[in-house]
Amino acid sequence: MKNIISLICGTVFGIGLATSGMTNPAKVLGFLDVFGAWDPTLAFVMGGALLVSAFGALLVRGRERPWFADNFSIPTRRDLDPALIAGASVFGVGWGLVGLCPGPALANIGRGNVEILVFVAAMIAGVFAYRLIARVRALRTPKKPIGY
């Protein structure tokens, strides 16, 4: 059940990305280009998503467990660490270079577009390299589990 729900959620997410135009890197860059021919669409996408998911957050609040799983996996960290800022900064530069963040990049892999495949391969390599290093470090100092 859990896996079927995941597939459905991923599919709805993908429909949302495509119908909002966020699968088009030019449209994302148009939003980021505040001093150029600005296209504010992304703000409306984020606004729409936030409205619905804020309602979702209210639904979840007070519930002991989700419908089809034993517990909620919600990040609990509250401190602002340098890694958060550094990571977000690095991500933003990559996002601004081409106009692709992870969701739209993966949503576009069925297009048969070679540029998307090159970007996604580099992205997955970056993710894997980071996780591998984190894994090796965690094994050397067996204190806290990695992953979130």
Binding site: S6, C9, A18, V34, P75, A88, F91, N108
Partner: protein
Amino acid sequence: METTFTPIAGLVGGGLIGLAATMLLLFNGKIAGISGILGSIFFTDNSDRVWRLMFLLGLPLGAAFGAWLTSDALGFEIARNPFLLIVAGALVGIGTQLGHGCTSGHGVCGMARGSHRSIIATVTFMVTAGVTVYVMRHLMGGA
């Protein structure tokens, strides 16, 4: 390169993204952060891996359906330079893992929860992305 402002399509599509995030949280207890779902595929057990792969598989399926629904009217235009694509992809990959999230995990799910970390992260990547676009388009005059 210039695109048209499409607020209604944006709101509707955004609403669907929010719906997907809400369902994943309410039913499975998981955050719909793409970079987290992707990143945790590598070193985990199979019971945790399958739902992640299923979610990620849904993205291109849904996008293909969405493109068909809208007759791909919102277009698709991407940079051609392979070096730029590789650098950008690697930065997105590494940055999202180091910063524990991307546009979906921080920008949508985290902000909807009122997480301070996510608000700071979102402001940060919006600013660096905006500066990057400014430099590429207005200072270097390319891209």
